[in-house]
């Protein structure tokens, strides 16, 4: 874990001994994880290992689930993200999220992108904001002639890029992506991956993915989660097994469970 070849930037997030409960049941426990600026960090692992749970606790989307409770510490640029003075709404303005299934609003393409800036009362020319966000999301050329069309008329891949544009429009610091390509075909997936490589120049990206090749292709660092089997029958508690540079995770992981997973022996 120590001899990283990549020069690590600033830590955007630092998770220490972080855990998440849903009501009485523990979903994920003991996560220690740094996430570095302007990198793509991937979280991989089998279903139920808590990777999405960890992702959703990075912008306090877990607050929306009744009974969800985060333990341990989540620092965001050194600030305790779950401190009593922190307003989760303000946190979400800085840390955007793209979901598994594209979820455009039932509005025009333009209004989808403008919704965030309008709702947050952002200053500036709205046409410019929308155009800038759509260009950054590599969608402008596809849609510039039909900005007033309903977003539901777009293809799945375009919808997902619209959701990325929508997140970019509010000028975030971090973009979280929860299996953004799992509902897309391979060509659309490649476009999103290209886009992610482009976006990491300006943003810090954390992506949860079921697709190991995707993690290998795009991520600078990869965190492997799994279900902790030493907690006895019936319990399904996720844990972080290993976090390292992506190349190391896929070629020479330190933990045998990681090796089994990335070589396809299990999961």
């Amino acid at each position: 874990m120590e001899n990283n070849n990549k020069v690590a930037g600033n830590e955007v997030f630092s998770l220490s001994n972080m855990s998440v409960h849903y009501g009485e049941s523990l979903a994920v426990d003991g996560v220690n994880l740094p996430i570095y600026e302007n990198e793509i960090t991937a979280m991989i692992g089998p279903s139920g290992c808590g990777k999405s749970t960890v992702l959703r606790s990075l912008n306090r989307m877990n607050d929306l689930i009744p009974g969800a409770k985060v333990g341990g510490q989540v620092l965001y640029h050194g600030q305790d993200m779950y401190g009593p003075e922190v307003d989760p709404v303000q946190v979400r303005k800085l840390i955007g999220m793209v979901f598994q299934k594209p979820n455009p609003f039932p509005k025009s393409i333009y209004d989808n992108v403008a919704f965030g800036p309008q709702t947050l009362g952002m200053k500036g020319d709205m046409d410019e904001i929308v155009e800038g966000a759509l260009k950054k999301a590599a969608l402008w050329d596809d849609v510039k002639d039909r900005l007033k069309d309903n977003a539901f008329g777009m293809s799945g891949g375009q919808q997902q890029r619209l959701c990325i544009a929508r997140a970019i429009a509010v000028k975030p610091d971090v973009i979280l992506m929860d299996e953004p390509c799992s509902a897309l075909d391979p060509i659309s997936t490649f476009k999103i991956e290209d886009l992610m490589m482009e976006l990491k120049k300006d943003y810090t990206i954390v992506i949860v993915t079921h697709n190991m090749q995707q993690a290998a292709r795009v991520a600078d660092r990869t965190a492997f989660f799994t279900v902790d089997t030493e907690r006895g029958e019936g319990s399904r508690v996720g844990q972080l097994v290993e976090f390292d540079e992506t190349s190391k995770i896929f070629s020479n992981p330190a933990d045998s469970r990681t090796l089994d997973y990335v070589t396809g022996k299990f999961g």
Partner: protein
Amino acid sequence: MSQGIPKRASGAAMAAAAVTQNIYKGANNKALVGGIMFRLLLLSALGIAMIAILAVIAWALVEGAARVNVGLFVNNPSSFRPEEAGYRPAILGTVQLIAGVILLIVPLGVGAATYLELFADRTRWYNRLIELNIQNLAGVPSIVFGILGLAFIVRGVFDLGFVVAAGSATIAILVLPTVILASREAIRAVPSSLLDGAMALGATRLQAVRKMVLPSAAPGMLTGVILAVARAIGEAAPLLLVGAATFVTFDPNFWQDGYSALPVMIYNYAGRPQEEFHTLAAAGVLVMLVVLFFINSIAVWLRARYERTW
């Protein structure tokens, strides 16, 4: 060798025939007959329901169609000249009544549904109690709401007297559970990914609900309101208790004593011995049926127009 090949081939053909011998129609006549019987049973159930509706419409048409004229709408009632009597005060009363009902049920119904669906903490016992009560209230007989209106709205707490406003409030309470349930359905049909998407952009819960969830649920809510209005138009029993007179010969005023409503007026005409009044009642029924058909059509149209697959 050369003999063996066709032999083997015919063996394979026979085996194939054994597999496919039952794929033809008529192989299982028992199931076929059962299917037909079941379909007939379903059709007869539908038929009985349709016959009841058609019988009402046919009766109203035969009895009352000839009596539908301008006078029916613009003339005041008369107790001794049925051929000239009309429904004017009853129609005006119903219109005012329903206007009041709509003004009350839209904000209350949408508000209650929004709270229950999007803000209430369902782990709290009082929220579950409220939910259970609303579901039960939808099944309470309308006359009970009439007594409630009489005790608390006409007299008691609000002390409005026997005015249209009191009738509106009573009917509003009566149909409110239906509106709340329909509105909750409409809200539930909006995928939570919309709320999540808006909140992930930094919108507050209130902003996300107001700008995203409620506009998406509006057509469904409107359908609920329209169906509630259709029910409200037909209600007679609670109105009799809260002061709708069966016989009024002057135009109603929302805050003044003395009003009637269409179903109440029909009830009055139908109870009179003269045949002419029965014709008049049938004509009134016809008018109500047309109005209800129109309202329900709007609801169906709205539903079809804004139906959305997410």
